[in-house]
């Protein structure tokens, strides 16, 4: 699997090490770069591949406005996570995809970071498109809804029982409905059958 490039920008060594330790628990592989100076951060952002920037509020606050603008306007696609370490509300909230709060426990932090990493790894699975059932599947669904067995459906539609089973599997996975009673409700709502 491809490595994920992570920059951790935080003045505190403890904090940087803590984040890395938690991220390792996700089981993904990372290349970490630790930063505690603004100039080094800018250099990294401009010259090297990056996927994820984790930066603390106090680090940001210590940067000049010009540097902050450079950090936040980074044009390459990069996810930004803010560590809210100073306890106060940050004026940068809207520029971040995720905020790690002081009260977050290890589990919460892990979940938040994992979510970001996952979104990096698989952008848009093709399965997200709406799936319509085909005309043939509709025929099968109608007969399921009136209570026919697979064998009866096969005979009626001149197909093998095996094909009926395949159609039913596809119908269930497309509609997200598993039971016969549920399929019947769907068929009635969509006027495929009437009672």
């Amino acid at each position: 699997m491809k490595n994920t490039y992570v920059i951790i920008a935080d003045i505190s060594q403890l904090s940087r090490s803590g984040i890395m330790a938690i991220m390792k628990q996700t089981g993904f592989s990372f290349i970490f770069r630790e930063v505690f100076q603004a100039e080094k951060l800018i250099r990294l952002l401009q010259n090297e591949p990056n996927n994820l920037l984790i930066i603390s509020n106090s680090f940001l606050n210590s940067c000049s406005p010009e540097v902050i603008r450079k950090i936040l306007s980074q044009s390459t696609p990069i996810l930004r996570v803010l560590i809210q370490d100073t306890g106060m509300n940050s004026r940068f909230y809207n520029d971040f995809h995720e905020i790690l709060k002081p009260e977050d426990n290890e589990k919460v932090i892990l979940r938040k970071l994992e979510k970001q990493v996952r979104s990096l790894i698989k952008p848009d699975p093709a399965t997200n498109q709406p799936e319509e059932i085909s005309e043939r599947e509709k025929d099968v669904l109608k007969l399921v809804a009136v209570g026919m067995t697979n064998k009866e459906i096969a005979e009626k539609l001149y197909i093998s029982s095996h094909t009926v089973i395949t159609h039913r599997k596809n119908i269930t996975s497309k509609l997200g409905i598993k039971t016969i009673a549920g399929l019947t409700v769907y068929a009635i709502i969509h006027k495929l059958v009437s009672f």
Binding site: N105, K107, G176, I177, A181, G182, V185, I188, I189
Partner: protein, 245 residues
């Protein structure tokens, strides 16, 4: 974080209000004052350790002290399972029925047929769940106690082995599924396919209750599958091995 016996009962609820129905299942009701978990348990005659393990396994999805839970007596475990059954049938299901009825009553116009269909679907689910629970209470639990009684006395017999061969935990595992499917479908019908302009607040309330019921049932099934079943299976095995020929 683990919930511990010296924590205040009130704090636990603040920590995670989803634990409320679990707590009340043990006969522990609101108005805790500043009492700790240990204190309320003692007052109610509840096994504090068991109570803590259940709370923690509901509160923290990754926490499931399987071996530790198996250490409790079947009586304690089954009493808890029975109380959850009671909660599903006499609190949760009636609540969802009530909300569904309100949703249907608030809707007038073409399409009431569809809503009635959904209502009927839920009624079917309720029947299935009731049958499932009845079977556990009337057949499975008495069987389990018989097995335990023989095991505690370390006394196997032809009768008990015959009983085990007639119905064992393996059969229980086989029949122990599918009740969730209807619940899953109902959720999806409401989320994806409800074509009518029903009262959205009521519809949301129904959905939220369905999700909660589903989560609760999953935790319940986990205790059955990972605690009850292995524990009884171990006893069955011993009894079969030590049967007097």
């Amino acid at each position: 974080m683990l919930i511990q016996s010296n924590m205040k009962m009130a704090e636990v609820i603040h920590l995670d209000y989803h634990l409320l129905p679990i707590v009340s299942r043990f006969g522990i009701n609101l108005g805790f004052g500043d009492k700790t978990i240990e204190q309320v348990c003692r007052e109610q005659g509840v096994d504090t350790n068991f109570f803590l393990e259940i709370l923690n396994s509901y509160y923290n999805k990754d926490y499931f002290p399987q071996k530790h839970l198996q250490g409790f007596s079947l009586e304690v475990i089954i009493e808890y399972l029975r109380k959850s059954h009671d909660y599903y049938l006499h609190t949760k299901i009636p609540l969802i029925e009530h909300l569904l009825r309100q949703m249907i009553d608030s809707f007038q116009g073409i399409g009431t047929e569809t809503l009635k269909l959904i209502n009927g679907f839920f009624a079917e689910y309720k029947n299935e769940l009731t049958r499932h629970i009845d079977r556990e209470e009337e057949k499975v639990y008495p069987y389990v106690f018989t097995v335990e009684a023989a095991f505690i006395l370390r006394k196997s017999s032809k009768e008990i082995v015959r009983l085990i061969h007639a119905y064992s935990m393996e059969d229980f595992e086989k029949e122990h599924d599918n009740v969730e499917d209807k619940l899953f479908d109902l959720k999806n019908i409401l989320i994806k396919y409800l074509p009518l302009p029903v009262d959205l607040q009521l519809c949301h309330a129904v959905l939220i209750e369905l999700f909660r019921l589903e989560t609760d049932l999953k935790d319940h099934a986990r205790i059955e599958d990972k605690v009850l079943v292995p524990k009884v299976k171990y006893m069955e095995k011993w009894l079969i091995e030590h049967a007097t020929v």
